[in-house]
């Protein structure tokens, strides 16, 4: 074990936070938000893999694989929706999608 678990966790946490920051900050573009979410999920996978390595079992890696599948499904659905909404409103700025409030 060359990299200690704590380092992995710190990196993952930072990644997670950065991803979240991206999602929160880049509200003008849905695509960027999706990328932010990807980063967050990558941080999660990193944690799983790190955990797997730490304990010497494959469970975490399995989880990561599943997460990948999940992510791709999510992104495909999100993109489909973005296309649909772009057609309706000619924009990908999430702040413009505020017809419901209160």
């Amino acid at each position: 074990m060359s990299v200690p678990l704590s380092h992995i966790l710190i990196v993952a946490s930072l990644m997670f936070a950065m991803g979240l920051g991206c999602v929160v900050a880049w509200r003008a573009n849905v695509i960027m938000m999706l990328i932010g979410i990807e980063i967050m999920l990558n941080a999660v996978m990193l944690t799983f893999v790190g955990g797997s390595a730490h304990w010497g079992i494959a469970d975490g890696q399995l989880f990561s694989l599943m997460l990948m599948a999940l992510t791709s499904a999510e992104v495909s659905l999100a993109l489909a929706m973005v296309v649909y909404l772009h057609r309706r409103k000619q924009t990908v700025n999430t702040d413009r999608f505020d017809s419901m409030k209160g």
Partner: protein, 626 residues
Amino acid sequence: MMLATYLTLMLLFPLLGGLTCAVAGRKLPRVLVESLACAAVFGSFVCALLTALSYTAPTVVTLADWFAAFDLVIPISLYLDPLSLSLSVMIGFVCGLIHLYSVFYMREDEDYARYFALLNLFVFAMLTLVLAESLPLLYLGWEGVGFCSYLLIGFWYRDTNNADAGRKAFITTRIGDTAFMIALAWLFQLFGTLSVTKLNGMGFLMPVSVLTLLGILFLIAAMGKSAQVPLMVWLPDAMAGPTPVSAMIHAATMVTAGVYLLARMYPLIAASQAALAAIAVTGAVTAFYGATCALAQRDLKRVLAYSTISQIGYMMLGVGAEAVTAATFHLLVHAFFKALLFLGAGCVIAAMHHEQDIFKMGGLRRTLPLTFWNFLAGAACLAGLPLTGGFFSKDGILMAVWHKGGALYQSLYFLGLLTALITAFYSFRLVFLVFGGGNGHVHRTSGLGVMQAVLIPLAILGLFGGVLNLPGYMGEGLLTRLFAAIPGGGAVEATHEQEIVMQAVAGALALAGLAAAWLRYGKGRAHRMQEAQSPPSPLISFLANGWYFDALYNVLFVRPYRALAGILWERMDEGIIDDSLDGLGEGIGSVGRRLGRWSTGRVAVYLISFAAGGALILGYLAWLVL
């Protein structure tokens, strides 16, 4: 056993009569209602006589249970003693006559059923009051007469003034009634019973201060019912009712209930000299007040009303001077002659087509001779002309006051004498103004026959009522002998010389009053009639308006009460309480709306909130763990 039956019937007759009239009266023919009502009262009177015949000693008769809650047991029980017996006989008699009188007095009124129903119910309530042995039952009668009086004063309800007068009477007397109720609750707390006979025997158990307070509570009750200062304002207004009602309720019977109550509870409160003094002072002051006011009245009935106030003041004075017998004596005689005066006034008013201003009358001596002579008899009694019933009864009281001694009672005695003088003066002022003078012209004489006939027995009783209780030097008093058994009922121990001197003084004063009245209103009649056209002098207004007590109470109580009611409602109830709660609701609602605005519709805001929540939770956990 017979006694119980008589007593029951005595109460039941007028009750049933009243109920029948109330429920079915409008469906029954007029004659039937009238005869039913009269029969009921006369039946009651007969029962009273029978009771009197079979009476031997004070008896308690328990008829039934009213209610019982644990130790608070209230039976329907009656107490027959000389006091209640003499009063119930008087009530039966006077009320019977007045019923008869009413038949003719009210014969043009459509609402005869209501009238007689109330009249009968009144008799029932009055008899209950007088005969009750348990205080709540007495209170039932007490409130019952008040209620009937309320409706009868406002009998001609279409005129708001009449209704107002009824309302005033009801509310003012209720103030006194409340004192009665307080006394009642307190008595139960102190003695654990509300039986009059038991209470009267238990006074010694309590310190004098308690008895004083109790006495004052009863005095306040009496003030309301008997129109004593300061609760007297309702009685003059109560004249708005039909005249027979005034005669029956506001002269002969109900208004004397206060005196009766004090006489009834006398053994309990007699131990407190302070309470007695309070009663005496109230009585004397009221007597003086009523007499002065009567001087300046222009309304025939209001003169009589103020004179009633004044005369009841005498009775109170009598009770306060430990002379229950004398007070009762005056009560009885007063009932006769005051009823007589009112009924006479009723004849006048009926004849004058409801004109009541004495300055617009005159000469009725010739047109209504029978009324005149009877009225004169009444006035003589009221004025206390020597040898009339009123003379003896009033004198008995004054003598007792004098005899009681002490600076207080002696000054009260002189106040009483002064009042006697004024009384004689205003009595004959009335006679001279109404019956004196030349042009006697009346509107109606038909139907007056029976009405006038009714006056005769009353006049006889008034004039010769003195035999009921002749002063010691003329022989023994009947009442004194009867009352000897009950506390406070004994004769005043005065020598015959003292009696004669005092009666001479009183007689002289009465005659002086008569003379003064003759000078001013007999000889000077024309001049007075002239004067009456111009606005009255301040003193006359002051007296005519009853010392402006009405205005004073209006400023002190009535208007603030009205105004505060509005303020309490709109500012307090709808304002402070309700609006603050509405405001609370409103505030919560607007907070809610603001919270709703958090949901801006922009997903970024949602994410930021989410992330912030996450940061807080993680921050907290970090702080906790690290």
